[in-house]
Amino acid sequence: MVAQSFNLHAGTLEKVKKRGTLICGVSTGIFGFSSVDSKGNWQGLDVDFCRAISLAVLGSKEKVKFVSLSAQQRFTALQSGEVDVLSRNTTRILSRDTDLGINFGPTIFYDGQSIMVKKKIKVSKVKDLNSATICVQTGTTSELNLTDYFLENKLKFRPLVVENNEEVFKAFLAGRCDAITSDSSQLAAMRLGAPKPEELMILEERISKEPLSPAVRHGDDAWLDIVSWVFYVLIEAEELGINSKNVDSFKTSARPRVQRLLGISKGHGSYLKLDDKWAYKVIKGVGNYQEFFDRNLGEKTKMKLERGVNRLWTDGGLMYAMPFR
């Protein structure tokens, strides 16, 4: 019954166009990815990606409705059609990709799980944490990774499983556990939120790979294409040096690659059932991946994350746009 209903949800693109709004599943508040500022506006990497899709499909970045979803609820919300796309700090893994009836788009942020400890317990490697109590949030891949990693390295630990992000951190600060584990971007944010950040330390080892990707329902390939290629626009634009500020000056560019991307000569819109200016609108409205990163996670923000593996492939990173041909 549940499995059947997935295939019946084809035609998200038509649904979104008809409705005139994109419904985007985001988190209930994750630093740098999706959170609400004091004025009630959504911001973050995942949020900006939703805006990019909205720009491509509907031509405006304001036509997005954000639905906040908890870690446990996110997949049902997508399956039941409550949201059109899930852009919620979600790790792409085999079981979710197959069993849950969802499909993942390209990875928009490569994260990795780490462990944070208090400096005073004098731990520098994960191996030193043998038989420690470790706080972990339930319903995430962190729980599983932690168990795997400790089993592999023949270490013992006691998990302290808590439902909610703040409560995990509170438990850690209160000394109920010796260490806390989560994606390293999240740990960095948590550390900043602590009363005394200098007393906390994130261990250097990454105990897992966390490719965070947007997800759509199984069986709606046209919609997945749009979500994927909107992301490639962000990377392609960065590769070509186009950003939201200088995009107009590229209109006169003689390079065929630029002309095709911005829809000056015959573009790619018709393949995706969008108009030829779709990529132009995305870049003009929200910018390229570099701008995404700088605005939400980079040096100028409080998160102060390094690009790391999220650099372009030409700089030795993993971000690679499929050719626009």
């Binding site: 209930t28 994750i30 639905v67 906040s68 039941s80 703040e166 900043l192 602590a194 409080k302």
Partner: protein, 323 residues
């Protein structure tokens, strides 16, 4: 002598217990400024609550449409006080409540439902579901008491089924399961589904309270009405219900207060109620996570409304005694 000693002892204990919170909340607290001011003090960071108050109370409700909220609250409080303080018949009171609810929905209409967050969502769901649940509960109770055959069995089945389910289960069914079972292309907005769950739950609870009220009405009353030649609907409306409902108003207000607090369960199915918006407010790197301050604030908001409701309910009880 021993009494004096005991008094001093208790005073010492109280000072010992309250000293910490007092220092935290009053002496060392920071009322204005930024995060760095808060970090220099050991007390409560109330500047955080001040900065985030709008977000906690209204969530993503657009700032330029806040004027609509004035209309909403005017109508909300006016109808609330009218309901509890007026001496008119209960039908009239409910009519006014219903009218005000429609009026409030009309006020809020220009803003998309997904942006009715925080306190607004709590109050809207509370009022809307109680408003529908009250007559529905009464109907169920009457059918259960006086109905026959299929109707009676249906009413008993519904009441017992819903009462046997935890509210959170109903909410999960409504928010997660129901959309999976609906035919393709059918979409019921989430808020309507949640309304459904709350209405079912509260009406089943109220039905059992009303049943108690109905059973209090002596059989002789019915016989007297029959012998006067009154028709059944008239008997019900004029004789039975007035005697059955009025004594039950106080427990009904209690159910209302419980419902008000239960609206916090919406957060679990990802609706942006007060708890969720306060969590959202914590996700700001300009401020550290001032969890305690933010929870304290929503505790006060909940306390205010629950206290108001129970105070008004008390007035109702006093008047019922005088009558």
């Amino acid at each position: 002598m021993s009494k004096l000693f005991l008094n001093f002892f208790l005073l010492a204990v109280m000072i010992f217990i309250l000293k910490g919170p007092f220092e935290w909340l009053v002496l060392n607290s920071v009322w204005s400024g930024s995060s760095s001011d808060c970090q220099m003090h050991t007390g409560a960071c109330l500047a955080f609550v001040r900065d985030k108050m709008d977000l906690i109370l209204w969530g993503t409700f657009p700032g330029d449409k806040r004027i609509l909220l004035c209309g909403y609250f005017l109508s909300f409080f006016a109808s609330l006080f009218f309901f509890f303080q007026s001496r008119r018949k209960i039908e009239v009171k409910f009519g006014v409540l219903l009218f005000s609810f429609v009026l409030e929905s009309f006020f809020l209409w220009p803003v998309s439902i997904s942006k009715w967050n925080g306190l607004l969502l709590v109050l809207y769901v509370f009022k809307g579901s109680y408003l529908v649940a009250f007559p529905l509960g009464l109907f169920l109770a009457v059918v259960r008491r006086y109905g026959k055959g299929f109707w009676r069995m249906g009413s008993i089945g519904l009441i017992e089924f819903v009462r046997g389910m935890p509210l959170i289960g109903l909410l999960f069914m409504a928010s997660v399961m129901l959309p999976l079972f609906l035919p393709v292309g059918w979409e019921i907005p989430k808020i309507i589904r949640l309304f459904g769950a709350y209405i079912l739950f509260v009406s089943a609870t109220l039905a059992e309270i009303f049943r108690g009220g109905l059973e209090q009405v002596g059989k002789g009353q019915m016989d007297a009405a029959n012998s006067l030649g009154l028709r059944w609907p008239t008997t019900l409306m004029k004789i039975i219900l007035p005697q059955a409902v009025m004594p039950m108003m106080v427990p009904c207000v209690n159910v209302g207060i419980t419902l008000f607090k239960d609206t916090a369960l919406m957060g679990i199915v990802s609706m942006m109620d007060l708890t969720m918006t306060s969590k959202m407010a914590l996700k700001d790197l300009d401020w550290g996570g001032y969890v305690t301050e933010s929870y304290l604030f929503i505790t006060l908001v909940y306390f205010f409304f629950c206290f108001l409701l129970s105070y008004l309910g008390n007035c109702l009880r006093k008047r019922a005694v005088i009558h």
